[in-house]
């Protein structure tokens, strides 16, 4: 029996969860590097912008891979799949604030990979190709994860807050 599709009762855009999650990751990076409210704010804004672009790119690529699916179906799938970023963001905040870990990059990479795979599975449940829905978002998420690590590390290392 297939797992129920489970329409998420959200009315916000599909990139909301990624934006919130990566705002948290960016804020952690900014705070660790600058230790000021300005640094954290810049990190929050940067993370949110990155996430909106990344989520849009992933949905666009999935649309190319599944031309038979409409834009609304893809957005529904993204809306559900991207929710998986939120647990990683919550755990990253808890790990940094409660345990003093400097591991937000680990959490953000896992968040992108897991949520990318989840979006792909949601697309597959809604009629997308099984194999390409599994592999294409995972590959895109891997590249986006690398891009986030490079961009956030570069920004944190080279900009003066």
């Amino acid at each position: 029996m297939n797992q129920p599709v489970g329409r998420t009762p959200m009315t916000l855009p599909y990139w909301t969860a990624p934006a919130l999650g990566f705002a948290a990751f960016g804020g952690l990076v900014g705070w660790r590097m600058g230790a000021t409210a300005l640094a954290a704010t810049v990190g929050v804004a940067g993370g949110a912008v990155f996430a909106v672009l990344a989520a849009s790119l992933l949905v666009f690529v999935l649309g190319l891979a599944n031309p038979n699916l409409g834009r609304e179906v893809l957005r529904e799938a993204a809306e559900t799949g991207f929710l998986l970023i939120l647990p990683f963001a919550a755990l990253a905040l808890a790990a940094e604030l409660a345990l003093g870990w400097q591991a937000s990059q680990v959490f953000s990479s896992a968040a992108l990979m897991t949520s990318g795979g989840a979006v792909g599975m949601e697309v597959a449940r809604r009629g997308g190709g099984a194999l390409r829905s599994a592999l294409v978002p995972s590959a895109v998420a891997l590249l986006l994860s690398a891009a986030w690590v490079v961009l956030s590390t570069f920004a944190a290392s080279n900009w003066k807050w």
Partner: protein, 210 residues
Amino acid sequence: MFGNAAIGPVGSVGSVAERPARTRSDQIKAGLLIFVNPGGALKGALAQLPIPVALGISGTAFGLFFLQTGLDLLRVSQPTLPRLAMTGAGGVVGLCLVGVVYGTLGVAFLAALAWIATRPLGATVALDSTIRAFALGYCPALVYAALGVATNLALGWNTALAFGVTGMLWALGPMIATLREMLGGRIWPSVILATLLGGLTLFGWAFLGT
């Protein structure tokens, strides 16, 4: 590797995963499929595995994770658990055994917590299926832990955070898939429960392993 996953009627995602495993290679494919379709893998071929085998997978994953922690601590000579007699190689082995216990009894306890928490939300899945699914969700963690130990020993890197924690985080995907299956597809309760249970796992490691 995922060839059979593409075959099947529309909507039947991961057909290898959603029929009983007939061969060892089917189970291995399902174990690898958990990386990209955890829900399907856990429902299908992997659902045939006995619970001791499933808990053996999670126990081995945590054992290797804690082994990396012990090796890293030994390498940097940080203070270790005050309640255990941690000295040198004996301490590392001891920490590894703590990890095995954490990965078996701890994961079973975590699954039981999830089973109890989902009862009021209408879940009807049996406890043994829940334990099996939670334990098998650590298949990716086992892969990461094995790679981490190899890297730790071969290159002398501190790998507990990069490989160990990453592996534990990868288990969140299958955990959420399992919870969604138990809760009839509802995503928000699954996400919230997975956050709480994932936090328990990480904080448990932080308390026991560092």
